[in-house]
């Protein structure tokens, strides 16, 4: 027999029968069912095991507040754990599995935890696993995580797409119950741009779950009319399956739409869309959530919220039991009996908990069998419907630090009006107004207020007639006098005993209680349990609830997948990749790339037969030093600086002088931070009195530009100078080696003389190449060889590298990558990122003579402070292993011969190392105390991490051509 608990009515589509499986067993439901309603229709009571005690659990609620029925849904890579069965729509072929049980849901070994409960009370982790400390990470934590588990992911890459979107509107209405629909209707009719979002797949809110009358029609008829009217308005956007999960500053709301989770065939559509909604105003009409009463064994499968029992009967045509006892402390809960009796359910007892007789205990382990009352009577039942009162869903009013206030008449927290910004209105049950009439009324009012506030005229909307019975409640939180455990937070297995214990142990603040007992944590974030727990805490402390206070919630309202936040930012889309204009050419040459900043740079160009990267790099270095090599240096930051004050501007931002640099010349420049440490280095070339082009390192291109703009706009706002980054506008290549000029002369158009006499070292100029292509040429050398940098507008980069290589064939030209570049700069003793690392000064870098005495510049004053100019300060020198075959490690520290390896004897460190094919030995650059005075001495380079200890000789950092003769030929 299937669906034996199905009755007539409800908003399911009985023409669409749907097959799905739960723990391998086949079941059927209808379109419009949730997993929960379909399981209940099939009489399935036991759906999960609790977090800590592994107690059998059933479906508790009918909404996103569900603490028990967490399922693993889907197959293969699409497995989604911890999905609330109460909100997951069924689809054909859906696979649903229960969680936190082994070997099966029916027989779970760790149910032994329930017997051990006396040892597992609040804070038992903290108390039990204190000693020995080393056991925590290796043994205790993995063990606990395994035992107290939720579902697991597949471990495979997520096969679905996720997207992000941005929406703008006049008013965002959150929740499409009576209040939200009314607010949207008023705002929509006034012509405002409205977004109406609801987490459910069907709009209507609580009206879907109750049989009420609006304007003497069934309330559903009214709902459908309003939705039809809203759908017809082009200024209204209806978004179902969309949870507004967070409220952020300045009218920004976060929302997530689940697009495909309900589909049997997953289309190419994004599974979820994460929205950022910019709204001038919003109406929070998020409704309310019913709460339970703490009573012995109130977590048994079949103990449910009364509103949920009504919802399953009215919305889904499903009975939660055939003999239902109703326990309520309020007028709303008592209605449950009428609904159930009308549906043909036996209701043997309706217990108004405000009377003398109280519920006392519940029998049945994997399903409720009976309930016992305080007068000793025992009544058989297969479902207990508990109504403990309603908590307005005020979570979103707390996201901007709104503190809710307590209302005695409804025994619940409501939004604090003063704390809510002018951006947000709250209407209906979310505001503590529970009758349908009040919801419609407040929704309309909120709509009208917003229409007026946004300067439109509100059309009169007749307020529909609806039920306006007052809500009456007598707070009743806990059945006392029974020594058995009564659950407060079923999701985290927090009982009244845990709260009392926490109070005894001094955790009296509500925030501490939460953290000590885990009350209100995990997927439901206390929707089911917080207020109940708070009430019991207040009782223990002999205080009122407002005196006790409450925790406030933060985003997200319900769990949001990490994938939704990631959106399309996965794999290669995680961050942008920048490629130089000749990237494809380099790829064709077989280049290996390395990520530098966001750039992909050619690291080296292996040739067939080369089996190790060092072979390739050595070849590239030797070829360059003996003939000519070409390196793509496009990634260097390039900043175009123009204006009458350009020279003076550079004077102020570089440590060395620039104002008097001749037109047609380049100069190396060192930039300091204001605190006196080196920030970046590069060159500036002067093309006219008023025009410079600066280069920066690849890594600092962005931060240097930002700094320069800061200097220009904030420090010297009247300097007549303008800056623009042109890094991506120019492709730039270094041509280095003794044959560099011969090669270039084949490329540079004849009218431009690049001979040594006409175009000496550090010259620059605007020329043409390859018959008229605009280019800039700089006679700069990073390698120490005769070298030029040639730049062309980016669109010519690919052609230029090809032209250079083809022109260089007769010289056996090689392309070289960042590795060979690095080797040659270390051989030459040039500082780079490893040396200019934010912790070194011009003095340490051996560039103190650069800091001009004749002018002020950023960082000059503080570079002169005492601490940065100590006599035994470390400085940059070179190192060679004493034994030529020894390998050096960057990061090794210098310790004197025969000294102990400790911090006291630490004299500096190796910053850069390379194998120099020119010297046939490893070489290194590093910072050593009084390094310059110790040239020729021996010291040890000790690397305790890699376990190496190499004897090295201190030498000049300029391993090759120390006099710089090669550059000038």
């Amino acid at each position: 027999m299937s669906q034996t608990y199905r009755i007539n009515g409800g908003q399911i589509d009985r023409s669409q029968l749907i097959d799905f499986t739960f723990d391998g067993k086949r079941y059927q439901g209808y379109a419009g069912d949730t997993v929960a309603s379909a399981l209940l229709a099939n009489g399935v009571k036991l759906v999960g095991r609790s977090f800590k005690y592994h107690r059998p659990r059933g479906i508790f609620s009918a909404g996103s507040d569900e603490p028990n029925a967490l399922m693993t849904i889907g197959e293969g890579a699409r497995i989604t754990p911890n999905t609330r069965a109460t909100v997951a729509e069924i689809y054909e072929g859906m696979t649903v599995r229960s969680q936190n049980r082994f070997p099966s849901l029916n027989f779970d070994i760790l149910a032994v935890n329930d017997v051990l409960a006396p040892f597992l009370s609040a804070g038992f982790y903290y108390k039990t696993f204190m000693w020995p400390a080393v056991f925590w990470e290796k043994l205790y934590e993995p063990m606990i995580r395994r035992a107290a588990g939720l579902g697991a992911l597949s471990g495979e890459p997520d096969p679905d797409q996720y997207d992000k979107g941005f929406l703008h509107c006049d008013v965002l209405v959150i929740g499409a119950g009576p209040a939200g629909l009314m607010a949207a209707l008023v705002a929509g009719r006034a012509g405002l741009h409205v977004i109406l979002a609801d987490e459910d797949f069907q709009m209507g809110g609580r009206l879907l779950c109750e049989h009420e009358q609006i304007n003497s029609d069934a309330s559903l008829t009214w709902v459908n009319q309003v939705i039809a009217e809203l759908s017809s308005m082009t200024n209204v956007r209806l978004m179902n399956r969309t949870t507004v999960y967070g409220v952020f500053d300045h009218g920004i709301y976060g929302a997530v739409t689940r697009n495909t989770d309900h589909l049997a065939v997953k289309t190419k559509r994004p599974r979820e869309t994460l929205w950022r909604i910019y709204a001038k105003r919003s109406v929070l009409a998020s409704g309310a959530t019913e709460r339970s009463i703490a009573l012995s064994n109130n977590d048994r499968p079949g103990v449910m919220l009364a509103s949920a029992v009504r919802a399953y009967a009215n919305r889904f045509g499903v009975l939660c039991g055939k003999r239902v006892v109703v326990v309520s402390n309020n007028s709303d809960g008592l209605r449950t009996a009428d609904v159930l009796r009308a549906a043909g359910v036996e209701v043997p007892e309706v217990l108004d908990a405000r009377q003398l007789v109280m519920p006392f205990d519940i029998y049945g382990k994997k399903a409720v069998r009976a309930i016992k009352f305080s007068d000793g009577r025992k009544v058989d039942a297969d479902c207990i419907a508990i109504a403990g009162g309603w908590n307005p869903n005020i979570q979103l009013t707390c996201h901007k630090r709104g503190r809710p206030v307590w209302r005695d008449d409804i025994a619940a927290f409501v939004p604090n009006k003063d704390a809510i910004t002018s951006e947000m209105d709250v209407a209906g049950a979310a505001n503590g107004s529970f009758s349908t009439h009040q919801c419609l009324h407040e929704g309309a009012q909120a709509g009208e207020r917003i229409v007026r506030a946004l300067g439109k005229n509100a059309a009169t909307v007749d307020l529909p007639q609806a039920d306006d019975q007052p809500f009456e409640i007598t707070p009743f939180w806990e059945v006392k006098g029974n020594t058995k455990r009564a659950w407060v937070d079923p999701q985290n297995d927090v009982t009244t005993k845990d709260i009392k214990l926490a109070v005894q142990e001094g955790f009296r603040s509500v925030e501490l209680l939460k953290r000590y007992t885990t009350l209100g944590m995990a997927t439901d974030q206390g929707k089911a349990s917080n207020v109940l727990g708070l009430a019991i805490l207040a009782d223990c402390l002999g205080q009122s609830i407002p005196e006790t206070g409450t925790t406030i919630s933060r985003p997200p309202y319900t769990p949001v997948t990490i994938s939704a936040f990631a959106g399309t930012s996965r794999f290669e889309h995680f961050r942008p990749v920048r490629e130089t204009p000749s990237h494809n050419w380099a790829k064709e040459q077989g280049a290996v790339f390395v990520s530098a900043g966001l750039w992909n740079r050619a690291q080296y160009f292996p040739k067939p037969g080369e089996t190790h990267w060092r072979q390739t790099v050595d070849r590239e270095v030797i070829a360059t030093r003996s003939s000519v090599g070409i390196c793509d240096v496009t990634t260097l930051g390039k900043i175009d600086i123009q204006g009458p004050d350009a020279g003076e501007f550079l004077n102020r931002v570089y440590a060395n002088a620039f104002a008097k640099l001749a037109v047609g010349k380049c100069r190396y420049g060192l930039m300091l931070r204001e605190d006196g440490f080196a920030m970046d280095d590069g060159t500036a070339a002067r093309f006219s009195d008023t025009h410079f082009v600066m280069t920066t390192t690849t890594a600092n291109a962005v931060s240097v530009y930002r700094h320069l703009e800061f200097c220009r706009q904030c420090l010297w706002p009247d300097m007549d100078v303008k800056l623009i980054s042109v890094t991506e506008q120019w492709a730039q290549y270094a041509v280095a080696g003794p044959n560099a000029r011969k090669l270039l002369q084949k490329i540079v158009d004849k009218e431009h003389d690049v001979s040594n006499e006409a175009f000496p070292f550090m010259a620059c100029g605007e020329i043409t190449v390859c018959h008229g292509i605009r280019a800039r040429i700089f006679r700069l050398s990073f390698s120490g060889e005769l070298a030029y940098e040639l730049s062309v507008p980016a669109r010519y980069g690919d052609s230029l590298i090809k032209a250079l290589v083809s022109a260089g064939e007769e010289f056996d030209v090689v392309p070289y990558g960042t590795e060979a570049l690095g080797v040659m700069r270390i051989e030459k003793g040039h500082a780079a990122g490893n040396e200019i690392n934010g912790q070194t000064t011009a003095k340490q870098l051996g560039m103190h003579k650069f800091v001009s005495n004749k002018k002020d510049c950023i960082g000059k004053f503080l570079s002169g402070r005492e601490g940065l100019n100590e006599e035994d300060g470390s400085c940059l020198v070179g190192f060679k292993p004493v034994r030529q075959t020894d390998v050096l490690n960057a990061g090794a520290h210098f310790i004197g011969l025969g000294e102990l390896n400790n911090a006291e004897n630490d004299e500096g460190y190796l910053s850069s190392i390379a194998y120099s094919p020119s010297l046939k030995s490893y070489i290194g650059l590093g910072f050593l105390k009084r390094g310059q005075e110790r040239i020729g001495q021996e010291i040890r380079a000790v690397d305790l991490l890699r376990g190496t200890d190499v004897q090295v000789t201190v030498c000049s950092a300029h391993f090759i051509d120390p006099k710089g003769e090669r550059l000038r030929v």
Partner: protein, 95 residues
């Protein structure tokens, strides 16, 4: 957050980079007296204000304006937005 840029209108805060206290505009004159003390104050001493704070933001993914923004650090209310160059001129940074 949304920043109402004086030239470009409302812009999302994600387009901006944050620097900090707007007092960084007032770089000390290295020729002045007790310049060591002033530089120390300028560079290292900041008030950690709970309330109205004047701060520098850079519209890095926009027009590259530096802005001086008065923001309430408790509520994130933005009380004023000005071009930093205007503020700098007004506060005596003209050459």
């Amino acid at each position: 957050m949304i920043i109402i840029h004086p030239l470009l209108g409302p812009r999302d805060a994600q387009e901006f980079t944050y620097l900090g206290d707007a007092s960084l505009i007032h770089r000390p004159d290295p020729e002045a007296d007790n310049v060591a003390g002033t530089f120390y104050e300028y560079l290292y001493q900041r008030d950690n204000i709970a309330g109205e704070h004047r701060e520098l933001w850079f519209h890095e993914q926009g027009d590259r304006s530096w802005l001086v923004i008065k923001r309430n650090t408790l509520t994130h209310d933005i009380l004023s937005v000005e071009l930093a160059s205007d503020v700098a001129r007004r506060e005596g940074r003209s050459k």
